[in-house]
Symmetry: C2
């Protein structure tokens, strides 16, 4: 395909030179510049184009809409059963609603299906989708199917949240506690095991405890969205900003700061980041730093929150929250290591397209 004449880029620039997050921002910044001047934009205006989901004004409530697509080759390792795959496309979408404190109302599924997919497998995928919709108390509203080379599960989830309760990426204030809803890096450990070459996998099976293998795989293959926590925490009124951790803690901390004023910073405390023994066990066996699995991997679908300091102590036990840092006025992302030394935290996370 020929590049257009009025191109602003060298024709040899590929999307792999840019990276996913920048592509999305590029897409949305172009969008903002061209919103049409329609009467509906007074009534149904959009907030938060860069947030976890889009918001439509319904008076007292926002309708929340999010869309996420899973591809067999990128997101669905062969160890996942068809039912697990169906569940996951619902969970990744619901997690975006959870991050905004929204209650799901319905799900729409577009499928790309290989021609030779056994009908049984289709039914099992649908079982997973429907069971997961039931778990999150919403219905499947519609769907369409297409023929494709690989399995494609494209979901759209609608939810509803009170305008005075919605959680956004913007809102962190210096002094707030930075917290997460559970331990980090568990799914990452699971994927590191599942995606290891066969000989490495066999070794790990001997080295690691059975309970470890079971737990880390389950978290990778059958993740759950923190929906109840998101909705209940939104109801407390104490959460100042939130997002779900899909690309790793560091990357999501960067997202919160990008949505905030320039002067807002976040400092994480390395010793406070909740890393379980299982994650340490896998990391040791693979000669990796367990902290990297927690900071740069994601897929646990825990929530990252900033919470008013005085409220945090009341909410901590009720929601099983872990403080991982504080909001500062430094404008920087920092991490204080075991020896008390402050380092700049790089915002990198798992990203498609980026040439590594």
């Amino acid at each position: 395909m020929m590049p257009s004449k009025d191109s602003k880029h060298p024709p040899n620039l590929k999307i792999s030179n840019i990276g996913e997050k920048k592509l999305i921002k590029r897409l949305l910044s172009r969008s903002r510049a061209s919103q049409p001047n329609s009467p509906f934009f007074d009534e149904f205006y959009f907030k938060s184009l860069s947030d976890d989901a889009a918001l439509i004004d319904l008076g007292d409530n926002y309708l929340v809409v999010t869309s996420d697509l899973l591809l067999e080759s990128s997101h669905l390792p062969s160890d996942m059963s068809p039912e697990d795959r169906g569940r996951k496309v619902v969970t990744v979408n619901v997690s975006d609603l959870a991050a905004m404190g929204a209650k799901p109302i319905g799900f729409i599924l577009s499928l790309g299906l290989p021609e030779d997919l056994p009908l049984n497998e289709f039914d099992e995928i649908m079982d997973g989708v429907l069971k997961s919709c039931q778990d999150y108390e919403m219905g499947l509203m519609g769907g369409d199917t297409n023929q494709s080379d690989e399995l494609i599960l494209s979901g759209t989830c609608l939810g509803i949240v009170g305008k005075n309760k919605v959680l956004m990426k913007e809102g962190a204030r210096p002094g707030d506690v930075v917290a997460v809803t559970g331990s980090l890096g568990v799914a990452a450990a699971g994927f590191e095991f599942l995606l290891s070459p066969q000989p490495v996998k066999e070794n790990l099976k001997k080295e690691l405890r059975n309970s470890t293998l079971k737990l880390i795989q389950k978290q990778a293959i059958q993740p759950r969205a923190r929906l109840k926590e998101g909705i209940s925490l939104a109801n407390t009124g104490a959460v100042t900003s939130a997002t779900d951790i899909t690309d790793g803690l560091a990357s999501e901390v960067g997202e919160l700061l990008e949505a905030s004023k320039n002067s807002v910073g976040i400092s994480l405390f390395e010793t406070m980041i909740p890393i379980t023994l299982e994650v340490e066990e896998l990391a040791t066996a693979l000669d990796q730093d367990p902290l990297d699995l927690a900071l740069y991997y994601g897929e646990d679908f825990e929530l990252l929150l900033t919470i008013e300091k005085d409220e945090f102590k009341h909410l901590k036990d009720e929601f099983g929250l872990h403080q991982v840092g504080v909001v500062t006025d430094s404008g920087k992302m920092e991490i204080i290591n075991k020896d008390g030394k402050t380092n700049i935290l790089e915002g990198k996370g798992y990203q498609h397209f980026v040439n590594k």
Copy 2:
């Protein structure tokens, strides 16, 4: 993948033995059986799971949600420019809103992008998406990107329609006029040309008029949704049922009947089906029946409507409608040919997955 033990089907049954429309019905019938018992289902219940889009009750209005996915290999011939591809993913979704008389309020795009896609091409696809959103007077609300082997454009479109105005597949009454918003088979003719083997294509280029080649290709590559017509016709109150023609007239007539009572039938008049000279020209050159292109192909994105007989004569000229048949009480799909002979009309249309 092993079939599950409690399977109700022989393990060798593939989705290609079933066909797309039956797969969707299978999916949605399973869904209906498992709608959760949640308080939100009183407030935001869903109508029309088998309609062109899902409806959510907002009081005086319905929120209309539809989702459609395009794959490079199935839906996007290489002759389409990146901008045309971006426009098409918006148009196929808006066409579903048009069929319900709904006004678009926003679009969400999930992209699967090959790693080596030039950044220019990404920008041109987005130009097409944004220009098309502007044409249909809505905004791009959000998006996400993923790495994939082939280009995937998955769109979700939201719209709004008054409860007393919404057009559904159900509602045709004996005596109503069956009408379409424009001539049929033009896009089909364009695709037949574009997908011909090179030597056939070269011959067609010599045989067909330049204006014919231009027109049929434009309809295939740059289709438009009949949005203004759908909204205005819904406002008249005279339309008793509607759908958009994506899989061919015969298939969509079948959809209207399936949504109706058993006694409702439709008879088409072969001589009244609007087929242009250009379509006849292409069909003759390829030794095909032009009627087949109109009945069994789709992709023109015209609307199929049933309209109260007395109102039809007032609306005909204003909206450029063509009567193609009448609603009967026979419970059958029939077509009356040039010689006045009545034949049963087969409901087949373009379908993925079906082994032909």
